[in-house]
Symmetry: C2
Subunit: 377 residues, 2 copies
């Protein structure tokens, strides 16, 4: 009897209540029935984003919403700054390149957070940079960047701050309005607890100013079309109806529990997972770890790709391996979305079992013990 469980940093497990809501008979999107759901969903998205700004919903993956941010804010030849400290930070650069944006990369060593001071320096040199693109949680390395401090830098300037919070929103704190973050991008399959297929952008008034001027060609991702529709609680194009229905249920669950409680749980779980790894003699990869995904250095004798494969194919427990230059070298366990302490106990027990089978020497049960002890504090 193999049960499958996801401890990956997206997709995350979907609560049965949400799965069942999405399995109800189809409804049409241009009806009062859907409009009521969409309206409630949009209200609750504002709660999630901690914003009064518009939050636009697109049927696409997170990357689509990242592209939406680029094309709606910039024109070919415009200058931007991209913080690149992992696979997803680099994606900002790739999208800018595709749209002929003249971007200044800030290359940060994988595993550490960007120094806000470095952004301030680069911005001083490139005062004409219209946008700073950065990442809150860099999923590929498990690093958390200090968005509050970064927003302090862009706040008083004409430069707009865009944050990829795809794997962090709803998992760690991001106070869009009070910190002064102009555009926050996220996806549906992480902290939002629904399947992939929806992505979102919140857009501040300051960012809206760039939207009017941006000349990058766009249609499906055009914020102007999204805005016109949203003002009537409608969508510019056919929405992914079932995913919106699921999201509405998931957001109600989040609101009932409150963001504060969720953030605190993830904080505790992440601390306990790190304690478990250390008790097993393993090293945490990120110097500035995010509380939603823990990246762990694989022991020398263990190829992390093989570890992930055995855990998944023989035991049904999915964690993530390393990407790009970290392939085979790290594994990543998520504390994100619909995941509680006993899900992680299962994950750590499976990890202990497979590491042991793969020849790594440590005392079985040590990880679980440290995990429990940390949570009992």
């Amino acid at each position: 009897m193999k049960k499958n469980f996801l401890l990956t940093p997206g997709p995350t497990p979907v609560p049965a209540e949400v799965l069942l809501a999405m399995a109800t008979p189809s409804i049409h999107h241009r009806t009062p029935q859907f409009k009521a759901i969409f309206k409630e969903m949009n209200e609750n998205l504002k709660y999630l984003f901690q914003t009064q700004n518009d939050v636009f919903t697109f049927a696409c993956s997170g990357t689509g919403a990242m592209e939406a941010a680029v094309v709606n804010l910039l024109s070919a030849g415009d200058k931007a700054i991209c913080v690149q400290g992992g696979k997803f930070g680099e994606r900002w650069g790739e999208i800018c390149r595709a749209y002929n944006i003249d971007f200044v990369p800030i290359d940060v060593e994988w595993g550490i957070a960007v120094e806000p001071e470095e952004i301030a320096q680069v911005l001083k040199k490139h005062k004409d940079a219209k946008v700073v693109f950065t990442t809150q949680c860099e999923t590929s390395t498990g690093v958390l960047n200090d968005i509050k401090a970064i927003a302090e830098i862009t706040k008083g300037t004409d430069t707009v701050l865009v944050v990829d919070a795809i794997s962090s929103l709803g998992g760690v704190n991001l106070e869009t309005d009070s910190w002064g973050v102009d555009v926050v991008v996220t996806g549906s399959q992480k902290g939002l607890m629904i399947p992939p297929g929806l992505a979102f952008c919140s857009v501040s008034k300051k960012a809206q100013g760039l939207v009017e001027k941006a000349k990058s060609p766009r249609y499906y991702f055009d914020f102007r079309l999204s805005k016109k529709a949203l003002d009537k609680s409608d969508t510019a194009f056919t929405p992914a109806i079932t995913l919106c229905i699921g999201l509405n249920e998931a957001l109600k669950m989040i609101k009932r529990e409150t963001l504060e409680v969720i953030f605190e749980r993830n904080r505790k779980l992440a601390r306990a997972v790190r304690a478990a790894m250390r008790a097993m003699g393993l090293k945490i990869f990120a110097k500035d770890p995010a509380d939603v995904v823990t990246a762990v250095c694989s022991p020398k004798e263990v190829d992390s790709d093989k570890l992930v494969k055995i855990m998944r194919d023989e035991y049904g427990v999915s964690i993530a391996g390393g990407q790009a230059q970290l392939k085979g070298k790290i594994f990543r366990i998520a504390q994100l979305g619909y995941v509680n302490e006993f899900d992680l106990v299962m994950g750590i027990s499976c990890l202990e079992t497979v590491l042991s089978k793969m020849g790594y020497k440590f005392e079985l049960g040590k990880g679980i013990g440290a995990f429990e002890a940390e949570l009992l504090k």
Copy 2:
């Protein structure tokens, strides 16, 4: 006891088997488990598209895939021809405008099919047109264009033919390869019987030639990234996993029934619906009607928007009203996807009931009688 049922030209009803498949516990997309589903889904998409070409799947609405076709084939300043005979034909023009494509519109009166000869004439005048964009079933008017005849015109030339088959693929015949259609665009929520959120483009070798040269900026919709991923049975970005799982189930149902049987059923049902409308003294709007959606002129005394609203809100039966200049003037009933004769009996009975209540004079039961008689032939 109000039961809700969809007879709209998208979204269409989703079979319970498909809804339940989508409600199973989440799986990760970079796993052998998902890869096997995705591979089978892609094989069966080729059957649906009647093609050996690559079929790219995007998490987006149909419009996203239309935009994908434009940006992957053309550069700003390139010439194209857009057949505009309804709201969706006009969308080709809108997308071309957004990307500074120099497009020649062929404006066709709403309700009639484009004359293939007209396309031939325009193409003769504009030999440098790289692409002809057209629509198979124009959902807004219920018109079917003769794609086979149009493909005959572009076949021997350097011009690539792109067909929006969003509301028709899997509903009426479209022989991508044997007719010589270069790019076929479709969406998930019509003939494919799953919820909205996925869209597709099949791309011929001839079209692939343009993809290499096209300079329109693109990232999320870049066919080159899609191709590279598809060759490894993978996706460039996180796929809409549950929708892919649902699609795989739906495509297996389609393959089991065979396209021929489905096309024949829709043909018969559409003929019977038209007979029913005529028996009730109503006029079919389209001179060249498609067998997937029947557009009907509302009687003078009946505002079709009101009719649709009462049918939906008081009786639970959703049909579609008119769009743009046809608002209030026509209503549309779909014979598409998971809809059989008794679903339509219910729809026609509801229509008879509400038309009668709204003061339109005709003999109750006449429509149903004609519908049954036509099917008994």
